[in-house]
Symmetry: C2
Subunit: 515 residues, 2 copies
Amino acid sequence: MTETAAARRGGRDSRRGQRSSPSYAMLPGLTRGLPLVEPMTPEQVEKIDRASMDILEQVGVVFRDPVAIADWTRAGADVRGDRVRLDRGLVRELIATIPGEITYHARDPHKNVRLGGPHSIFVPMTGAPYLRDLDDVRRSPTLDDLAMFHKLAHMSPALHSSAHHIVEPMDHPVAHRHLRITYSSMKHSDKIFMGMTTSGRNAEDVLDMCAILFGAKFIETHPVVTGNCNGNSPLVWDETMLGAMRAFCRRNQPVLCSPFVLGGANTPASTAPAVAQLNAEALAALAYTQVIRKGAPAIYGHYLSTVSMASGAPMAGTPEISLMNFMIGQMARHYGVPWRTSNTLGGAKTLDAQAGYESATTMMAVLMAGANYIWHSAGWNEAGMHCSVAKFMVDAEQCAMGHRLAEGIRWDDFDEALAAVRDIGPGGHYLGHPHTLANFQRAFFMPRLFDNNSYEQWTAEGAKNTTERALEQARKMLKDYEEPRVDPAIDEELRAYIARREREIPAADALNEDY
Amino acid sequence: MTETAAARRGGRDSRRGQRSSPSYAMLPGLTRGLPLVEPMTPEQVEKIDRASMDILEQVGVVFRDPVAIADWTRAGADVRGDRVRLDRGLVRELIATIPGEITYHARDPHKNVRLGGPHSIFVPMTGAPYLRDLDDVRRSPTLDDLAMFHKLAHMSPALHSSAHHIVEPMDHPVAHRHLRITYSSMKHSDKIFMGMTTSGRNAEDVLDMCAILFGAKFIETHPVVTGNCNGNSPLVWDETMLGAMRAFCRRNQPVLCSPFVLGGANTPASTAPAVAQLNAEALAALAYTQVIRKGAPAIYGHYLSTVSMASGAPMAGTPEISLMNFMIGQMARHYGVPWRTSNTLGGAKTLDAQAGYESATTMMAVLMAGANYIWHSAGWNEAGMHCSVAKFMVDAEQCAMGHRLAEGIRWDDFDEALAAVRDIGPGGHYLGHPHTLANFQRAFFMPRLFDNNSYEQWTAEGAKNTTERALEQARKMLKDYEEPRVDPAIDEELRAYIARREREIPAADALNEDY
């Protein structure tokens, strides 16, 4: 065998090897190497800021929560009934103490990730009342289904976090769910995760469990879990969310302050004014986090969709959502606060072409916008009504591609590769060249879930569509799953906590549907 | 009826009206209002330029064409055999005379479009040997199928151009096809179109037909048609393409100078070096256009895919392709030359999720990269092996969304919409507000081909997937089609030209498959 033939054989063998044994190792947190898309001039950023501050001063924000009203009164805001008018000086002073960057600590410290500035993470979807399962059947989820998604999140390299109720475990009483959900997040993955914010008391349970898992003292100074608090646009924050916010802030754990925007329905029908309103809402909540506890980590958030004026349905992947993401990123950076957006949103009912177009458009926009906490990055479909196993797999691979894209251009082998151009010369090919053999694994991303073979080969292999390929891959992944061990004493303590709380929480609440 | 109820009724009626009667009017050429994504520093742009110029000077480019070799010898290049080494001074001097911006003239002057700088156009795919038809059946295309695609291009608002052989009319002899293709482009749409470059002589036929349609004198000073000339990477330009290039340049019609890059197979397996090689190839061809005719319009082009090192298959929508698009845009702007890229590429075999992810990723990348001539913007699937009617429809709608995105942020109703925020206040909703009623039609893009209704409603309406919805829309569009009239005398002359040339071109060539 000639040297070249050996090199080729080696290349083929390692290529085959690379293809058959996927790595489940987590990619490092994304550190951005691409420039940001910032369509607003500094004057336009000021214009939005001014409009938002005018709204806060003149229109005000409703806090439907007596504790928050008392807090705001003490903080010196103009409070009349449940309407709080916030002076721009006070807002600026309060948000100034929000950390611009935080480091999350995971159960496996190799999976710690930074957030803020150029540092971003991908987090899967949450909150689906249905799933499309391993057979692509749409049905009600169970706690086992939730565990499955926690496992898939654990094993997906580009997901830097698991989440909480990726799907709602409908086989469990509502009042007890937050305990089981939290335990599943902790048990099935050693990545960071999210905490339920369905009430102040439920949030306390989550944080107590975090204190058991990580140590009460440790979590006092280390972010380990994220709570999400949705606002009610326009300009309302309610008691449930504010109660949970207080629980997280008091324990120094990050909260997403997320106005819930259906552009055109609960905002003006125009992008820049909608951003001005959303920004006012986010600022009010961000400011309140610092009333609760100065220096507590908080994240500028939002859920953002536009509404079809023909049908009233929420839409995703529309140009205005991309534009608003660009703008909101600029505003969050203007205030020096990390920001959360939503990825891969869409209203398709199956993992069809619509789902692909919507998700990829959103992914590209939020990457170019420089979002830090990139939530709903896997599984979302049907406007969040179901989490699809197949889509979870495809989205997670798209995140890996987005990770590679946002890292930017590699220059480290530039001179060496140009030497290859001289070696090969006009009319040659590079497949056998030593530079190619040495670099092919990292040179060009090769999506596993997309079929780029010929029509004939694709047909011969069963003409599988994207959903079928993704579900096969999910089954394989779950077969390879290994549970990351929790210290048995800690596990025991977590179980005892859950058992006690389930005894304490009235069974009647099992029917409580108020979240 | 109260005033508010009347306003609501009016809103509903006009919303319903807007939904049922689509407009086929062409959107204006895209004038970019978004910032560009430029990941290279000025020093890195210089680095690529220097590497490309080194390749041109030291490695050289092969022109497999005696006429080009004679031209280059006269132009003072270092010619040895068919290898041409180009001094960077000569290259810079030659490309300096390429117009930075051109205005295309269409049969309907309202459909003239500018190209270059911030001005971009969407052009459908070409070259497919198969189609997926109105029943989503994959089969061999006919001249009637081609006419159908020319009609769809004519009626799709965001497509600024028709094209030439969107699909190959297999029911016609190869040697005569260019005539029938050109006639179909001219007859079925009054937008601009593309011209066949399958040989120098065929290109002459196209240009003769353009002279009949527009007047010989008119086309001498007005761009009306575009020719594409592919290079053979690495570093080869062949006789067929160069012959066609000469035909177009001599008549002052724009040519796309398009290295045909399969990253990793005919370039180094690394993005920045691949761009350096591609840039050298493009520069060699762009320089040659100016040897042919100083001041002739020319467009920096490329076809760009990366190759799976596992299977050898071309891939699309990968992060490296996006990065290369960003970089190539920077290079073209560095030289002050308009640039062409490819949109909506992908290797899916049907209009499934893969097709959606690949296409949308590419669309977003090329929009953010600032491409001017955005080719293959509708219909492409299966690595270009088929044009899909359904995908053509969806892609064309995506182009309309991309058009809206790249225009940037509207600020014209900012103060008025903020007044609405004061009117509505905390906890209200905007659907009935006069600002919403006045602005909803333009506020948020509403894709017709995506279903954002509830699962229940979608099921009740037949659970149609994206492909079915798109094919319904295509059938409706074709029913509404009205042929844009050509002056009967000109039509007669075109038909006579075709008849004469079909008599002149030997029937034996009907079997010529050399393009």
